[in-house]
């Protein structure tokens, strides 16, 4: 059974179930919607496709919302169940993938329950990943904890001197009292900041760094940079705003929107840039900014020569990598090795979503001929309509939170998949216990 026919099967079954529940005759329904009883019979037995228009007419006649019968609803549920079955926790359990449609048709309640649990688990995993990232890599948290420990160390040693060291000159005593006062105040302020910061962990997806603040501000429409919380974020936002405005001045919305009406240009941003006689990197930024027809779901990643992500513009369904800890297989990084070459690559996310990526790197020497050569890479990505190509590159989030067990680029074990147990062989070599 292929995936494209699956929703149709369910649609026919659901039409039949609904008709029988109303005790309506096939012939009556067929006549009412303008088709022959034989054709309705074929639809109900999943032997003929059913158009959206016909689904709407049948839904009206069967007194049920069209989405109850439509393919999309089932498609989403089937995709959700397949996604649940693809999770590493299902490894070895052998869920009957060929019976997903039957499960949903015969036990819709159980199917929904399974989907709800899988989604909740996915949400908790994301939260775990976010917390894990912050606990292990967040420079603010590490610095603050170090500050707390330093203040505690100073307080402990100084207090011990005052209590345990016997005679101390008045001058030193005053000095140590002053130090104690200073360190206790520092400790108090740092502890308050730490508690406030840890509280923010409960708000899933809350911005933790100035870059995340700026990206959230950009995603929300980039209204007023002055409203951003941190000084660093306001500075970064104004720089970004200035760059976006400069791009818009060079390539205004109207010109870009008109240019993408050409099918050839819309399908190939390199040709689009050539038609516009403008640099490809500028056109890519503008496509992600304006999101004209054909690029409605576009996102953009920008990194510097070290691979550090300097801008992330989200696209629905694309797992945005965290700055400093992203998937090494992203075509964005391949572009760094071949500046001025446009690389097109289809990728597939762990939950099966496909994206077409276009990556391109440029080099500059802002300090003149004797200055350093700076490289910047951009990756524009748009969702693929329809089935994901079989040769799409399997990407993921950071290794530590990536569920792909077999990956040639893995840097460290994942916290989301069972870890292999190393077993020592008699000859002294090691093997995994899995």
């Amino acid at each position: 059974m292929n995936e494209r026919s699956t929703p149709t099967v369910l649609t026919g079954t659901r039409i039949r179930e609904r008709r029988l529940s109303l005790s309506r005759r096939q012939a009556d329904i067929a006549r009412a919607v303008g088709i022959s009883p034989a054709y309705l019979n074929l639809i109900e037995h999943n032997r003929r496709p059913v158009s959206a228009d016909l689904v709407a007419r049948l839904a009206e006649e069967l007194d049920v919302p069209a989405e109850e019968l439509a393919e999309g609803r089932e498609e989403v549920r089937i995709a959700a169940l397949r996604e649940a079955a693809a999770h590493p926790v299902a490894t070895g359990l052998g869920p009957e993938l060929d019976q997903v449609t039957e499960l949903l048709a015969r036990f819709p309640g159980w199917g929904q329950l399974l989907i709800a649990h899988a989604r909740r688990a996915g949400g908790l995993e994301r939260q775990l990943v976010d917390l894990s990232d912050r606990m292990t890599q967040d420079p603010y948290l590490l610095t603050t904890l170090h500050e707390v420990l330093s203040a505690v160390t100073a307080v402990r040693s100084t207090a011990a001197i005052l209590v345990e060291e016997g005679e101390i000159s008045p001058e030193w005593r005053r000095r140590f009292h002053s130090n104690l006062h200073e360190d206790s105040q520092r400790l108090s302020l740092t502890a308050q900041a730490l508690v406030a910061y840890l509280d923010s962990f409960e708000a899933e997806g809350s911005a933790a760094t100035p870059q995340e603040e700026v990206e959230a501000w950009l995603a929300a429409g980039a209204s007023d940079a002055a409203e951003l919380a941190s000084d660093a974020a306001r500075v970064m936002a104004r720089q970004l705003e200035s760059g976006l405005n400069a791009d818009r001045d060079i390539l205004p919305d109207q010109i870009l929107a008109e240019a993408v009406t050409n099918p050839e240009a819309r399908a190939d941003p390199v040709r689009l840039a050539a038609r516009l006689e403008m640099p490809l990197d500028l056109v890519m930024r503008r496509l992600a900014d304006l999101r004209p027809a054909g690029f409605e779901g576009a996102g953009l990643l920008v990194c510097d020569g070290s691979g550090a992500l300097t801008l992330r513009r989200a696209a629905p369904g694309f797992p945005l990598p965290r700055p400093g800890d992203s998937c090494p297989l992203l075509p964005l990084y391949q572009a760094l090795a071949v500046p001025q070459v446009a690389l097109v690559r289809d990728v597939v996310t762990p939950d099966g979503r496909g994206f077409r990526t276009l990556s391109h790197a440029t080099r500059s020497q802002p300090g003149g001929v004797t200055g350093p050569v700076l490289t910047t890479a951009q990756m524009l990505f748009t969702p693929i309509d329809g089935p994901v190509p079989s040769d799409a590159l399997a990407i993921g989030p950071a290794c530590r939170i990536c569920s792909r067990a077999a990956c040639p680029a893995r840097r460290e074990p994942s916290i989301l998949v069972p870890q292999p147990v190393l077993v020592e062989r008699p000859n002294g070599t090691f093997d995994t216990g899995l």
């Binding site: 420990l149 505690v152 307080v155 040693s157 001197i161 345990e164 200073e182």
Partner: protein, 119 residues
């Protein structure tokens, strides 16, 4: 001029407390507050024991220690090092340090460790 102890620590109040504690034992204690210039300070003071904080500005304690152990002056490279750390793990630095003391520490433990290292 040779000192008994050189402490490289950017937290002024910790450095002051440690110097006071160790000075009371009759040892001479010099201070340096930055990872940058640390090797020069060690070369100048030629301490019998170096107390080195792991988290230093500009150049970490681990980097300073690696530089010290790689110094062409064999006597300098062999300087006994007591590493102060605010972290539970110090990685490769632990293997190159003679002793590790975690912050916050007990003054008596610090004294005992330094006494042992000074022989």
């Amino acid at each position: 001029m040779q000192q008994d102890i050189l402490m490289i620590e950017d937290e002024v109040n910790i450095a002051e407390a440690v110097r006071f504690i160790l000075s009371r034992e009759g040892w001479q204690v010099a201070l340096h507050a930055d990872g940058a210039g640390a090797i020069e300070a060690i070369r100048n003071h030629r301490p019998r024991v170096l107390i080195l904080d792991l988290m230093l500005p500009n150049r970490s304690g681990a980097e300073v220690l690696a530089d010290l152990r790689a110094d062409p002056d064999a006597n300098l490279a062999a300087t006994p090092v007591l590493m102060l750390t605010a972290r539970g793990q110090v990685g490769d630095a632990a293997a190159q340090a003679n002793q590790i003391l975690s912050k916050p520490f007990d003054n008596a433990d610090l004294r005992a460790l330094v006494r042992r290292m000074l022989g």
